[in-house]
Symmetry: C2
DNA sequence: AAGCTTATTATACGCTTGAATAATTCCTGC
DNA sequence: GCAGGAATTATTCAAGCGTATAATAAGCTT
């Protein structure tokens, strides 16, 4: 006797993996890492649990893939915002602002980031992904800074550029983290304005050198 | 027929709770939040699992207590370091340095912090503890800053003090986080020096105004 | 030294988890 | 249009989880 079975769609490997990862992120954002069980994820993706192990060696590998996606997404959002600037100063400013503005500053993004951060200490794969992304972010910032100093005709050595990049990265990370965790404590543009003012100070620029331009952008 | 039972020590409520929390933190640091099961924690504490529910309403409540302990520990370490300074400038410097120096900068502390951070979005109790601690840290910083500016005879309004406190907090948090996550990327005193230099810049101080004093401390 | 209270142990229960296996449906190449 | 292989489902499994309950050992009171 044959059992009633669901009819299903046979998807390509690429889109199926994408769907599964998206479902994983949805579950993590909604229920936390503990609520992201194989069954929940499968339900969200509209498949049954067994399929996950057909595309990933195990649940852990799927989580790693999901982490990769989140992190590259965050970095690329900021980089994409930067390259639209017409000069080095504008690109630097846009990069900073993008990191303390939605969609990077977003409860969901924070939930995902927070859910994964603890795995970095435990799982070497997570550690590698984090390292890779941290260095990419740092290098992007360093490149923007070097171009900016050249544009401003300020002679700043490479290792001082790196020192600045580390500090700026820390500032932006911290503002992003606390600002998103306690979004209700900050007014709409308070975070971005504080970021720009602080970056001006960190780079020893004149007050308004970065943030004044911001207002022009706002008005048009 | 009577069964062989372990002999045990009857502890006071205070020390038993302390032991259980300590065991919880040990397990989290060693195995991650997923490895911190009731049985593991009980084993580490040298008791049986059932006892946990004699001192806490459930595992969640014990985790909350553990989180409280970690966070207050971090903040108090920095505050304790600050109050030993002989003037406002020294207190500010010590506060900053303490936050990017062991035992705050420590893989274990980071593991614990990271394990809990994701619960803030899910569990209201965790959210409250975080909020409370963030505001306490911010206020401590704000107080140090106000005293410092007065000592320097600089007229700085309260809301500009607060803006500075938010930025300094973000910088310190970011340096702490990335510096501890990627400890191998930074030389011994690099983090502290970068922190002091950056704080000088953020407060628009002359270069060396904070960090120079640091070197005198080191030499004696 | 006996008795009372309770901190602690031991054991069991019900549930969920990630993973394994076998059956079935879908799609492609002929 | 029909085989054959692969994607997907359905079901099962063993392990581990947090919790509940009853028995027991410990220490205090008198």
């Amino acid at each position: 006797m044959t059992v009633n079975r669901r009819s299903y769609h046979r998807a390509s490997e690429a889109e199926r993996r994408e769907d599964l990862i998206a479902a994983t992120l949805d579950c993590i954002a909604e229920f936390g890492i503990q609520g992201a069980t194989v069954r929940q994820i499968a339900t969200r993706a509209g498949v049954t649990g067994g399929l996950i192990r057909h595309y990933f060696a195990g649940k852990d590998q799927m989580l790693q893939a999901a982490y990769r996606k989140v992190m590259t997404g965050m970095t690329e959002t900021a980089i994409a915002a930067a390259i639209e600037g017409e000069n080095a100063r504008s690109r630097l400013r846009r990069f900073i602002v993008a990191n303390v503005t939605p969609p990077v500053t977003d409860p969901r993004t924070l939930s995902l980031w927070a859910a994964f951060i603890s795995h970095i200490q435990t799982d070497p794969t997570f550690a590698a992904v984090h390292r890779e992304n941290y260095l990419a972010f740092l290098e992007a910032l360093e490149t923007l800074l070097t171009a900016f100093f050249r544009e401003e005709k300020r002679a700043v050595g490479p290792q001082e550029c790196r020192r600045h990049a580390i500090a700026l990265n820390a500032l932006v990370d911290g503002l992003w983290l606390e600002g998103t965790l306690a979004a209700d404590l900050f007014a709409d543009r308070e975070l971005a304005e504080n970021a720009l003012t602080s970056v001006e100070a960190l780079l020893r620029l004149a007050p308004g050198e970065l943030s004044a331009e911001q207002q022009q952008k706002e008005q048009r």
